[in-house]
């Protein structure tokens, strides 16, 4: 199946490239990918919430055609109904299936007991902590005894300790067969979570989403996070995520292959990672201080940062030529070192040079502003160009990033009132020339 959106001008925005995927019972499957890579879209197609643009989803060998199969979803935002009590929330799916009040009550109570929430039946969700709310989410999902339990980033709205706790309880229920489901499909951006829980990991690349790697994890449960095999899997997945252009081989051999991947032809307009220049500068300074090379995973861990927060910064640094990523390690380049050690004004200048060299859209803006007589142009011009490459939401984010980078490095100025980009010095000169 695949998914794309048709633009009014006939262009297609491809969200998910033609993809073939099979899920079979008895496993925990993790779908990993950077944010905005289309993981959630894929999940929604599998659950019948959204239909593929072409191709079809087969459920027990039969096409689904708009029906909802016998599955459940645990949502990132919990998606509990705040006006219903815990037990009413858990009973709601049973009521939808036409079960009688007494039977509903009995099953809901049992499931609330399984997730460890007994005593809170009559509480409202707002009286509960985040972890307890997600327990209600689990109970609601499991009470209908779904064939596949889908989870959409179920732990990412929780704090670290609570998430860890819930994860191990989930695993315990699953391994002790206390969970009335035959398969778990978990969408996440947390690499460690995937390696900890999953029997099978599917790594998505982005723009458009496609399967980069699909492999089994053969470490027996319960897994030790510090074991070399565990870390090898983590490193392997980091590599799959951070080097989108490299061909991925199976993980067992990957650890031994030297990682000098050839760079592919740059696309006309790259998708900019949503990192702020300040964040990039901070990261480069830190990397320079630490001797210029460090394990990405360790770095993220020590910074107490989420993958989602650090990956865009690393992506940006790589794109600007300030760093390269090898085997899950990030290594500073000479340009990167100069940038990290410079003072603010020099940093701006270096950023500008790197940006004009590597970032096509910024180069285009610079050239356009230079060529125009009044050295100014409406933002719509560049939005239209981005429109051809990205979905409308992504255009907004791309444009914000372009503005951020361009204004920081003084490639252009931006007037939010009129929505015009202009080059301040050139524009002033031009205006002065006109007056004369």
């Amino acid at each position: 199946m695949e998914k794309y959106y048709k633009q009014p001008d006939g262009n297609r925005i491809q969200v998910i490239a033609p993809t073939d995927l099979e899920i079979s019972p008895g496993k925990i499957i993790a779908l990993l990918g950077p944010s905005g890579s289309g993981k959630s879209t894929l999940l929604r197609m599998l659950t019948g919430l959204s239909t593929p643009s072409s191709g079809e989803v087969l459920w027990h060998g039969k096409a689904m055609s708009g029906e909802i199969p016998h599955v459940s979803i645990v949502f990132q935002s919990f998606a509990l109904f705040p006006w219903l009590t815990v037990i009413e929330n858990v009973e709601a799916p049973l009521a939808a299936r036409g079960l009688h009040a007494i039977e509903r009550h009995k099953r809901a109570l049992r499931m609330i007991d399984v997730v460890g929430l007994d005593g809170f039946e009559t509480a409202y969700p707002k009286e509960l902590s985040g972890g307890m709310k997600q327990r209600v989410g689990f109970a609601r999902a499991l009470v209908v005894e779904p064939e596949v339990l889908f989870m959409d980033e179920p732990f990412s709205a929780l704090d670290v300790l609570t998430a860890e706790n819930l994860r191990s309880e989930l695993l315990e229920l699953w391994l002790n067969k206390k969970m009335p489901t035959t398969c778990i499909f978990i969408v996440t951006h947390n690499i460690e979570e995937a390696v900890l829980l999953a029997d099978r990991v599917i790594v998505l690349g982005r723009n458009p989403a496609r399967i980069r790697s699909d492999f089994e994890i053969d470490i027996p449960q319960y897994r030790d996070r510090k074991s070399p095999r565990f870390l090898a899997y983590v490193d392997y997945i980091y590599k799959a995520l951070t080097k989108p252009d490299e061909e991925m081989t199976a993980p067992a051999t990957a650890a031994r292959v030297a990682g000098n991947g050839q760079e592919k032809q740059r696309k006309k307009f790259q998708m900019l990672p949503h990192a702020r220049p300040g964040g990039i500068a901070g990261f480069m300074e830190l990397l320079a201080d630490r001797g210029g090379r460090d394990d990405l995973y360790k770095l993220a861990d020590e910074l107490a940062m989420d993958v989602d927060d650090i990956l865009p910064i690393v992506d940006a640094a790589v794109m600007l030529g300030f760093a390269v990523v090898r085997e899950g390690d990030v290594e500073i380049t000479p340009e990167g070192r100069a940038f990290g050690e410079a003072d603010i004004q020099t940093q701006k200048r270096l950023f500008r040079d790197a940006a004009l060299k590597h970032i096509a859209i910024l180069r285009l803006i610079e050239n356009t502003l230079h060529a125009k007589r009044d050295h100014a142009i409406g933002e719509e011009f560049f939005r239209d160009i981005l429109d051809e490459h990205f979905s409308s939401d992504e255009v907004e984010r791309q444009f914000d990033t372009v503005l951020n980078w361009g204004r920081y490095s003084e490639i252009f100025d931006y007037d939010s009132e009129t929505g015009r980009l202009f080059h301040r010095e050139d524009a002033e000169l031009a205006a002065a020339a006109q007056e004369e």
Partner: protein, 585 residues
């Protein structure tokens, strides 16, 4: 000393009561519930007798204060029926607009336009139609009044319901879908609860607006006919016409009593109850409370009613819909006859609209040059008056509102007072204000500005108070730390901070002022007509004279002016407020 004296008394006072079984308290509540039910039944019987009684458009209005409870009941009933109609309309209209993309494109702009047509312009048409429909019963004219109130209160409710439906979080919708909620379950467990808070607040506003129009339409002249309905509005007008000050005071006191009672017995409990529909992650510390709600919750009779009747009924409905949904899950394609029915209805609607446009054009072509002139000059005059009213309103409400908003102690005293003052419908006060104006000797040209102000300043005041309260303490502290002069403080902190709220208040106030111009610029009083140049006066005069061409023309112009101002001024102000002056947390 004093404390020592009091303590034993308090213990004694507490003692015997605490020994009483809790049940007797609930018996008291039960008694109250039964009594209330009985009196409601009695009231409905009495009113029904009058409604289905013979047609009598000119009920003699007595100025005896003892008649006031009866009159208040009549007015209340009209409001209630109109509100129930509005709610039903809101649910249907909002639902269709939110879920049918094709209908949405027509229904939402239509709502915008309907909202800006002055309600009182509907008066003659609606009244004549209803009287013609029920020529022999009082019901016709009552229904006319009710429909008029309905048009005054329904639009903002429909809009609120529609936008709530559109903003339900995606994951909640998906949860409802993945867990196979049927239509009924989705409606009762997701859609209505999510929209509840917006609906409650808009209902309160709508009912307050309903009083405004009710006062105006209980007593009016239409061509040669003089319509009078028994009610609070007609009582006040009669009393003012006779210059009977004690009766006026009695009337106003009754009005305030009714409004306070409604607030305590209906709105406070409903707000306290609706608290559970709030989308929030943590429980708020200051939840609204209502003594009346707590009182009613203690009733055993109500609890039994809930257990024996409401819960089984709810369960029955749930099961019925769940089974029907399971049975019909397969057929997703709409049947052919439904598609055709939709097309037939749509083309009928187009024909009707075309016919109406042609007829309206014919009516407009009947207008004389003088009448066109009158409409245009009137529009200019009313426009100026609205601006002056808004300016005066802003001038006093901004400083006062900011003072109240910045000072919690002042707010505690001032807010309930302002609420009561605001809830007295301006139309109820018009006769009295006019009486004073005539004695003092000001013309209606100025007087109408005062009348407009009376109806609209509260919207600005309440919004400014809310805006001032929303300014973060950090910013206030920063501005005092940098020793801003008071001018600097106003310019850099207070005015930008309250701006978005001020715009909201001004939009509502401006709409209200245009509507009020119809009653404010033209007044019949003691067999005399006081009038001034203005679009509202033209509409009123056309109503009085039964000149429907002129009425249509002036109404269209007023709607056009209001829509244009909304598009050109307020929408831009909104955008500016959203982009520049929003305090994000």
């Amino acid at each position: 000393m004093a404390r020592d004296l009091w303590q034993p008394v308090r213990i004694l006072g507490k003692g015997p009561w605490s020994l009483l079984p809790a049940r007797s308290w609930s018996m008291l509540t039960d008694f109250f519930v039964f009594a209330a039910g009985l009196s409601l039944f009695y009231g409905v019987v009495v009113l029904a007798r009058s409604w289905f009684g013979p047609f009598n458009p000119q009920v003699e209005i007595s100025r005896d204060p003892r008649m006031l409870p009866m009159y208040a009941a009549y007015s209340l009933l009209r409001i209630t029926v109109a509100y129930v109609l509005s709610l039903a309309f809101t649910l249907v209209y909002g639902y269709i607009a939110a879920y049918n993309a094709r209908a949405e494109r027509i229904m939402i702009p239509l709502l915008d336009i309907l909202q800006s047509i002055p309600v009182l312009s509907f008066l003659p048409g609606v009244m004549l139609a209803m009287v013609a429909l029920f020529p022999r019963h009082q019901l016709g004219i009552e229904l006319g009044a009710i429909l008029l109130i309905f048009t005054g209160q329904v639009w903002n409710m429909a809009f609120s319901f529609y936008s709530s439906l559109k903003s339900i979080p995606r994951e909640m919708r998906e949860a409802a879908k993945i867990y196979r909620f049927n239509w009924y379950q989705r409606f009762t467990q997701l859609e209505v609860p999510y929209a509840a808070i917006g609906l409650v607040w808009n209902s309160m506003m709508s009912v307050a607006g309903g009083w405004f129009f009710l006062m105006a339409c209980e007593m009016f002249v239409l061509g040669s006919k003089d319509f009078r309905l028994p009610g609070l509005g007609s009582y006040l007008q009669t009393a003012a016409s006779a210059g009977d000050t004690p009766s006026i005071l009695w009337g106003i006191a009754t009005m305030i009593a009714v409004i306070v009672l409604l607030d305590q017995v209906i709105w406070r409990p409903v707000i306290a109850w609706a608290e559970k529909f709030k989308i929030e992650q943590v429980e708020s510390t200051q939840a609204p409370q209502s003594w009346f709600l707590e009182f009613m919750e203690r009733s055993h009779a109500l609890a039994r009613l809930r257990k024996r009747v409401v819960n089984p009924a709810r369960e029955y409905l749930r099961m019925r819909f769940a089974r029907r949904h399971a049975a019909s899950a397969q057929e997703a394609q709409p049947e052919a006859w439904k598609v055709w029915l939709g097309r037939v209805i749509a083309s009928l609607a187009v024909v009707v609209i075309l016919y109406a446009v042609v007829r309206a054009g014919a009516m407009l072509s009947g207008l004389t040059r003088g009448e066109y002139h009158e409409i245009l000059v009137g529009a200019g005059a009313t426009f100026l008056r609205v601006i002056v009213a808004l300016l005066i309103g802003s001038l006093w409400t901004i400083p006062v509102g900011v003072a109240i908003g910045f000072n919690p102690r002042l707010a505690k005293i001032a807010q309930p007072l302002a609420q009561i003052a605001a809830s007295v419908p301006a139309t109820a006060l018009f006769p009295i204000v006019l009486l004073v104006l005539i004695r003092v000797g000001g013309g209606l040209g100025l007087g109408s500005v005062v009348l407009m102000l009376l109806g609209t300043q509260w919207y600005i005041l309440f919004n400014v108070i809310a805006g001032a309260m929303a300014i973060p303490t950090d910013l206030k502290e920063a501005s005092s730390m940098f020793r801003f002069s008071s001018w600097q403080r106003w310019r850099t902190l207070i005015l930008p901070g309250v701006f978005p709220y001020l715009v909201t208040g001004l939009v509502t106030a401006s709409g209200g002022a245009w509507n009020a111009s119809i009653v404010a610029e033209y007044f019949r009083f003691k067999d005399q007509t006081y009038t001034t140049t203005g679009l509202g006066a033209t509409i009123s005069r056309a109503t009085d004279a039964g000149n429907f061409d002129l009425l249509l023309g002036s109404t269209i112009v007023m709607a056009l002016v209001v829509v244009t101002i909304n598009r050109l001024v307020w929408r831009r102000m909104y955008r500016l407020a959203a982009e520049r002056y929003t305090l994000e947390t």
